[in-house]
Symmetry: C2
Subunit: 150 residues, 2 copies
Amino acid sequence: MGVSDDDGGAMVTRVEVLDHAACWSLLTEAPVGRLAVSIAEHPDIFPINHVVDDGAVLFRTAAGTKLAGAVLGRAVAYEVDGYEAETGTAWSVVLKGTAEELDRLVDLMDASELPLFPWLSSPKTRWVRITPTQLTGRRFVVAADAKLSV
Amino acid sequence: MGVSDDDGGAMVTRVEVLDHAACWSLLTEAPVGRLAVSIAEHPDIFPINHVVDDGAVLFRTAAGTKLAGAVLGRAVAYEVDGYEAETGTAWSVVLKGTAEELDRLVDLMDASELPLFPWLSSPKTRWVRITPTQLTGRRFVVAADAKLSV
């Protein structure tokens, strides 16, 4: 197909695989991420604020919300990313796991100390923890001579 | 639960529903988004660059990649968002639909004129279109007296 061959060859992107330490560091620094969940093979995405604590991602939600109903007990994927147009560098970290509500008092007390600002606020917030089963990250570096047309 | 009640009441967030025109405008301006797809109830997320054209979201992928295998013919959700820490304003637009590869020559010729920079480059790129079945957007505005602890 002429469309693909004409401009695809000029694009030079180097992909670097990030190790777990780099992934956790980027997760910790990113204030916002996107939570993907699937119901009957139909995915949905929710932007949320999170914190990283003790090898897991924590966020708040409220009972009865769409988010709470969608995620609890389900397999989820959580993504954070960053992009610098000036350098043509982008990175993305994806954490997969299961979302579970914190219910032990000691966990709740610990979680209350964490800084967090929920996009969806409510007087009845609950804490959700995603314990990871898979963590992957990549950094995309565009070579200086590549055509950039963002 | 004391944890929820203690700090939940101080948080004041106003949620505004965005109309379709506002959603398309934000989609058009955003250079990057996240594509969620589900396989056997396990969601995955891919950050991608997109363009908006003729009431649809277009992006490029390459034959044989994980992304191509995951999305073609499937229900997907595509999300763009923005966040301004200074004003405490955040917005998110989610478009749901089915991802289909462009195969008509006229579509491919049109698509080749669109500006786009794929995170995953390849000499054999293909065009994918998400024709929306649902489009929703929200803007979150945090009142000045709310506690912000991002």
